[in-house]
């Protein structure tokens, strides 16, 4: 269902008049003379990107682990134990099963997001100590997990628990935001719907608002850990 638009015509006519334009006339999107972003890390191999991403985790106070698909379950268990187990919530993402993690989720009685349960999901995420997500694109330059959230891959999972653990398939590591935006723009050009909540998250929430002193952990997670999985 379409929404509403109010007061538009007079508003845009005033602007067009000042710009000496015919209101609403489509300009040609220029071929930009300057595109420095396209050259940044554009010749890096997957290995080089992984090294860079791991290095970028340091300044953003994020722990990072690397394992193979076979070792993933064990690594996840170790991490859950390290963060004190407790209540755990996970997004509904078929990749958990594809990555062989169903048993881990069962053994820790992980609550898997189910939108049909309504508000209960938010309560579960709010009381959980650990949230488990799988990222859709990883920006190596800034160690940023790109999550294309929806009703199943819920945003609350990487927001409300004190610790956020994100599984990073190595194949989704790209140099920087440029490639992620290209990915989204390609979808737009092919008429696909853009995810209603695209979240690029670089480590735990933080603030330097008090005397410019960095405090890690404000409203979002206080700890963030990535597990890179090499052969998926």
């Amino acid at each position: 269902m379409n929404g509403t638009i109010e007061n538009r015509d007079s508003f845009l006519e005033k602007i067009a008049g000042k710009l000496n334009r015919t209101p609403g006339e489509a300009p040609e999107l220029p071929i930009w003379a300057h595109k420095p972003q396209e050259r940044v890390y554009n010749d890096y191999s997957e290995e080089q990107l992984t090294v860079m991403m791991k290095k970028a985790c340091e300044p953003i106070h994020t722990s990072v682990y690397e394992t193979t698909l076979d070792g993933l379950a064990k690594q996840l268990v170790q991490l859950i134990d390290k963060y004190g187990a407790g209540k755990i919530v996970a997004t509904k993402d078929e990749r958990f099963e594809a990555f062989g993690l169903s048993n881990v989720l069962d053994s820790y009685q992980v609550y898997t997001w189910n939108y049909k349960e309504g508000r209960k999901n938010i309560d579960k995420a709010a009381e959980a100590t650990i949230g488990l997500s799988i990222c859709d694109v990883m920006l190596a330059e800034s160690a940023t997990a790109g999550l294309f959230n929806d009703k199943d891959k819920a945003r609350s999972v990487s927001l409300l628990p004190e610790t956020s653990v994100v599984i990073v398939p190595k194949s989704c590591i790209v140099p920087r935001m440029t490639q992620a935006m290209q990915l989204i723009e390609n979808k737009v050009e092919h008429g696909e719907e853009v995810s209603s909540y695209i979240n690029f998250i670089s480590g735990p929430s933080n603030s330097a608002d008090i005397e410019m002193r960095l405090v890690v952990g404000v409203h979002g997670p206080i700890k963030v850990a990535y597990i890179i999985v090499s052969d998926v």
Binding site: N2, G3, T4, I5, E6, N7, R8, S10, F11, L12, E13, K14, L19, R21, G24, P27, W32, A33, H34, P36, Q37, R39, V40, A56, I60, Y115, K116, G118, A126, E141, T144, D150, K151, A154, S156, L159, M177, M181, Q182, I184, E185, V188, S196, Y197, I198, N199, F200, I201, G203, S205, S207, A208, D209, I210, E211, M212, G217, V218, H219, G220
Partner: protein, 486 residues
């Protein structure tokens, strides 16, 4: 005037500010820290390539978008509404406030949570909603501190930079805080206090760092996680954006977000870069069911098609503020506008007029550090000069003494005889004020200068006499030296 901070005349604010040693030290130290981090993340990050090229890319994108603003706003609103969102175009601050008030009333909203937004400060939204009986909570840590302490922002990116931790602890005591002045403990208190507010609010309100025209999306660039809370749990979502804050596509979003994060706080990316596109009918539990976008003019169109259009290219990174020697000494409140520093001195007269903000363009040494720091190449110092010209030429109101002095100079300088007489008279007239070769206490227009330092006494020999004498001496030397006759 909604964007006004305090009620003091500009120079009174300056006088008060320069004597506030804590504030001056805090501002200098914040400037140094932010500037250093910006330099490391821009010129200092060799992997980025040529930072100047990044600036040119930003300038090119912003100029194209502003030159075709009506088209991109149409595209943005079409896509936003096609996804089920509601768009309201507000020509004035009042229209924007009234619309938001109406939405809150319809929803019977009692609890509103807000993420940091300069434009909602600009339109004084909180006061209006509070009058309607809503509890309006600022959730950005700095804004939360200011709200609890009934204070106002003094920096675009770090609004509470003028407050120290002891003051913050005292402010938090009003809410029952019993802890220390450790920033971590103070932030922990804000986390605890606000968590249930986020989860139970009726309406969430944010600003907009950038909108993406070709999909009707809103991008928020933050660090604390509060904007994600505000955009996830309340059933009704309202985004308020200045009408110039958009880009054509996601590809351009990449460039402006990179410029913003690196120039404002020296991060490669802030902790959260969140892109929201309406989808009110979806089954998602943690997503608004009703989404409104309010696009605000409120004086911005005054700059379109004028010498000041490039001021609307601003991406609110505050890099200009962080290098300004005037801001360093007077802080943000002295400007009397929620937009301080060089960009504030350019933007405030555009939005609020010369009557209120005509003196701000004089709060600059014209050193051009601001123009050099700007990631989208706004020629800020040139715009400050243009404002001064317009202020004096047109409806400006320079002080009576200044006007009289300028009039006198104009008469004197247009007649060689009067000019000559004037330069001869000056040392004699000023003699009573001279003490040990300088003037320590000057009257009238000299007063502000001599308040801070001594004015050198005028030489008994004026330039014309000096030049005449030296020309003769020089001719004599040359004639003797070469043996040639002149």
């Amino acid at each position: 005037m909604p964007m006004k901070v305090g009620n003091r005349p500009f120079f009174d604010g300056v006088d008060e500010a320069i004597h506030d040693s804590f504030m001056v030290n805090a501002v200098s130290s914040a400037q140094d820290g932010l500037r250093g981090r910006k330099l490391s993340a821009t010129i200092g990050d060799k992997a980025l390539g040529d930072w100047e090229e990044w600036r040119s890319a930003g300038e090119e994108i912003r100029a194209h978008t502003l030159n075709n603003l009506d088209y991109y706003l149409k595209q943005l609103s079409d896509h936003f509404a096609a996804r089920g969102g509601h768009v309201f175009f507000a020509e004035t601050a009042e229209e924007a406030r009234d619309y938001i008030k109406k939405v809150c009333k319809e929803k019977n909203a009692k609890h509103v949570v807000k993420a940091k937004s300069m434009v909602t400060e600009e339109i004084s939204l909180n006061e209006v909603l509070e009058e309607e009986g809503c509890e309006v909570l600022e959730t950005d840590l700095a804004e939360f501190i200011l709200q609890v302490d009934h204070d106002q922002p003094s920096h675009i990116v770090v609004p509470s930079v003028h407050k120290n931790r002891q003051q913050i602890r005292v402010a938090f005591r009003k809410l029952g805080y019993e802890g220390s002045d450790d920033p971590k403990e103070l932030a922990g208190f804000a986390r605890k206090t606000l968590r249930s507010k986020f989860l139970n609010a009726d309406v969430g309100i944010t600003g907009c760092n950038f909108a993406v025209a070709d999909t009707g999306s809103i991008c928020l660039v933050t660090n604390e996680g509060n904007a994600n809370m505000v955009t996830s749990f309340p059933e009704t979502q309202i985004t308020v954006m200045g009408m110039e804050r958009l880009v054509p596509t996601w590809k351009e979003l990449d460039v402006v977000v990179s410029l913003l994060c690196r120039s404002s706080v020296g991060q490669r990316l802030t902790t959260y870069v969140t892109d929201i596109t309406p989808k009110p009918n979806q089954d998602a539990v943690d997503s608004p069911k009703d989404y409104h976008l309010v696009i605000v003019d409120a004086g911005r169109s005054n700059a379109l098609g004028t010498d000041f259009q490039s001021a609307l290219h601003c991406i609110r990174c505050a890099a200009c503020i962080n290098v300004c020697p005037v801001y360093r000494h007077i802080g943000g409140h002295a400007y009397g506008s929620i937009y301080p520093g060089p960009i504030g001195a350019v933007l405030s007269p555009i939005l609020g007029g010369y009557e209120e903000y005509g003196k701000l363009p004089y709060a600059s040494s014209l050193c051009a550090a601001c123009s050099e720091a700007c990631p989208v190449k706004i020629p800020l110092h040139k715009l400050l000069i243009r404002h001064r010209e317009k202020y004096v030429e047109g409806g400006g109101h320079p002080p009576v003494m200044e006007r009289a002095a300028m009039k006198g100079f104009s008469i004197g300088a247009s007649s060689p005889a009067i000019f000559r007489a004037g330069t001869k008279m000056a040392p004699i007239m000023l003699k009573p004020l001279v003490h040990n070769g300088s003037i320590p206490k000057g009257p009238g227009p000299m007063k502000p200068w001599t308040h801070g330092r001594d004015l050198p006494a005028p030489s008994k020999e004026n330039f014309r006499d000096w030049f005449k004498k030296h020309k003769q001496q020089s001719a004599t030397i040359r004639t003797k030296g070469t043996g040639e006759s002149l």
